[in-house]
Amino acid sequence: MQRSTTAHGLPDTFSPRPRAAERVPAASGRLVLGLLLASLFCAPLKLWAAGEYGYPIPGAYEATILGTPGNLKPELPTKMRVRNLVLDIFPDRERPPIFFYDDGLRCTFAYQKKPAPLVFLIAGTGASDRATVQITMLKALYQAGFHVITLPSPTNANFVISGSRTRIPGDLYQDSEDLYRAMEVAWNKVKGDIEVTSFNLGGYSLGGTEAAFVARLDRERKVFNFKKVLLIDPAVSVFHSAARIEELLGQIPGGSGKLGAFFNRMLYKFSEFYNYGNFVGIDNNFLYAVYQEKIFSPDEAAGLIGLTFRINLAGMIFASDVMTNSGYVVPKNKVLKVGDSLFDYLMVSSHLSFFDYFNEYFFPYYQESHPGVTREQVISYFDLRSIEGYLKSSPQFGVMANDNDFILTAEDRDYLKGIFGERAKFYPRGGHLGNLEYKENLAYMVDFFK
């Protein structure tokens, strides 16, 4: 393949360079479907005039899947003072044999030798403390002289098992309490080793929405007195944003009930393309070719995003079901062992929609502790609008989001702009989180916390 660099610099070193992971493939970070999802493209690249925003991928779905080309990311440190924290938040909690590896809530902690501000970062749906974007943000902030602690999302299985009091994620208020408790435990663990000049908070996607609720809790409890709080690509209404992601699956033939067949068809397409070309491996050049040749249509790209969401959701549903012995997808009273196959549970859980989880599992549980509450009321609680008064009156907030993010409606965007005014920074493109690792976006984030 021709090794060329276009005017706006789309590189031959496209996407993060995989380390020499031939024998053991990487499966961490955003839970992508590895092969399929790293490699979609549907619309031709445009050139952006000098002085304009330089993130190059115009389509919302493509940006979401591809992220930021390698040479448009900033230089980040390769060596840091960093520690993995394992927090024993509920010392008496028993874990079933299949979760033997889960010995506490995992956080990643990067620290300076001199006094510095500390930033807590909350991950998005399903993601861990070491998700790719979490680590990128951690590095960018560390480089600028901050202490950083990254936390998993309350929807990540590790959080369900070791960080959630109820083990049933979805209640924005309860999840925020859990996050706040985790932050306190993490802070107690490290406060003897570092000097902190101020506390700050950030979160992306669902983690952005949660950051607002955590900050509100902090106003009452006053442990941290957050100086700055940044919401990155947040959902305004958690329920409606999840519904919009579910809609993406509606575009695949047969609907979401046929997502397995869809997956297999996309994989076949991907493999077939490899066979027609003369490629040396599934590497940057190959992925760039997939991108250039428009192998997947916009509907298919949308379907793959929906599918990734479902696979994340499946992990959360399964972990919660096992931890509460609810008998939702795993037989009640069944004790799963290390060698047991979980394949059927993966199939069943990934075919459950966010609505199934909400209506059949979450809402009945929620009603037990909140008698008389209606479904509509619950949906309206889990919405930034429900804490509007607080958000309006708090100057420490900022928003970083994109005009073409499909988890928000035009109304949501206007709402955020109306509430936060100049403190809401909207970029013209980037989809959902696609431009988060772009150098200009990271610089904006770092500047915000300064």
């Binding site: 090794r3 020499a20 990487a26 069943v348």
Partner: protein, 264 residues
């Protein structure tokens, strides 16, 4: 007296009963299982990410073993190495071992009768061994001679050998029956060449030097891999890893995407 006997019997009975109920109470598995609300029977869809894995139970236990091996032995060694070695030196060491691995890439490109790739790989090896100061630097990549990873498992795949069942190996991790065989052959060839060339002939501690070089090779290999077992926290991580490993191998050896099992 009779009262005493009755009392003794009663105490004994209580003890036996208590032991039995304690047994029952200590293991939740003795409670009867109830069918879940949603089960596989209700799906009307193809399963996805399917890989032939008849030894799943064994594999899952091995996956667990690899996790502990990493946790208590391998990763502490890697962290120690990364701590004491400057990044610049780490990269030179990685390049050095990657250059030696070009021998494997070359032999297998040749086994697949890929003339152009073989010449490229040979060119890489010669360039990096000379201009690249014995493989410490990688000027070949800048000259457009990209690294072309090959191994005997891929060669077998190229000639139509089926991957066989998925297999998680101790320490090496995800593999298949075919790729395990390939690994043995590659190791044999490397060992053969090594014996032939015998670079440390006559050194005082030949064995110790060789062992040291092999250990550093293992540490460097792990250092170059960012994968950590169970790090994703995703309860189905095993299937994700299995799928990605298997499919990447199948696609790269040209076996996927052109058989009859594709969608109609």
């Amino acid at each position: 007296m009779r009262n005493l006997r009755i009392t003794c019997c009663a105490i004994l009975t209580v003890c036996v009963l208590a032991t039995l109920t304690a047994c029952a109470g200590s293991g939740a598995h003795t409670r009867s299982e109830l069918p879940p609300r949603h089960s596989i029977a209700e799906l009307k869809d193809e399963p996805f990410a399917v890989v032939h894995d008849p030894w799943e139970s064994f594999n899952r236990h091995m996956y667990k073993f690899d996790y502990y091996f990493d946790k208590y032995l391998f990763l502490p060694a890697v962290r120690g190495y990364e701590f004491v070695t400057p990044v610049f030196l780490q990269d030179r060491i990685s390049n050095f071992y990657n250059n030696i691995a070009e021998v494997r890439n070359f032999t297998n490109s040749a086994f697949q009768l890929k003339g152009k790739d073989s010449v490229k790989t040979l060119g890489r090896f010669v360039t990096n061994s000379t201009i690249g100061l014995g493989g410490l630097f990688d000027p070949a990549s800048k000259l457009g001679l990209e690294r072309n990873y090959q191994d005997f498992g891929k060669t077998l795949g190229y000639w139509g050998v089926d991957s066989g069942p998925y297999l998680v190996l101790p320490i090496f991790g995800p593999s298949s029956v075919r790729d395990t065989g390939g690994l043995l052959v590659d190791s044999g060839i490397t060992y053969g060449i090594y014996t032939l060339v015998d670079p440390f002939r006559g050194a005082d501690n030949e064995f110790a030097v060789t062992a040291g070089i092999e250990t550093l090779n293992a540490v460097d290999t792990r250092h170059q891999q960012s994968f950590r077992y169970y790090e994703s926290g995703f309860p189905f991580e095993y299937y994700l890893v299995r799928f990605i490993y298997h499919e990447k191998r199948e696609i790269e050896s040209g076996k996927a995407g052109k058989d009859q099992s594709g969608p109609q």
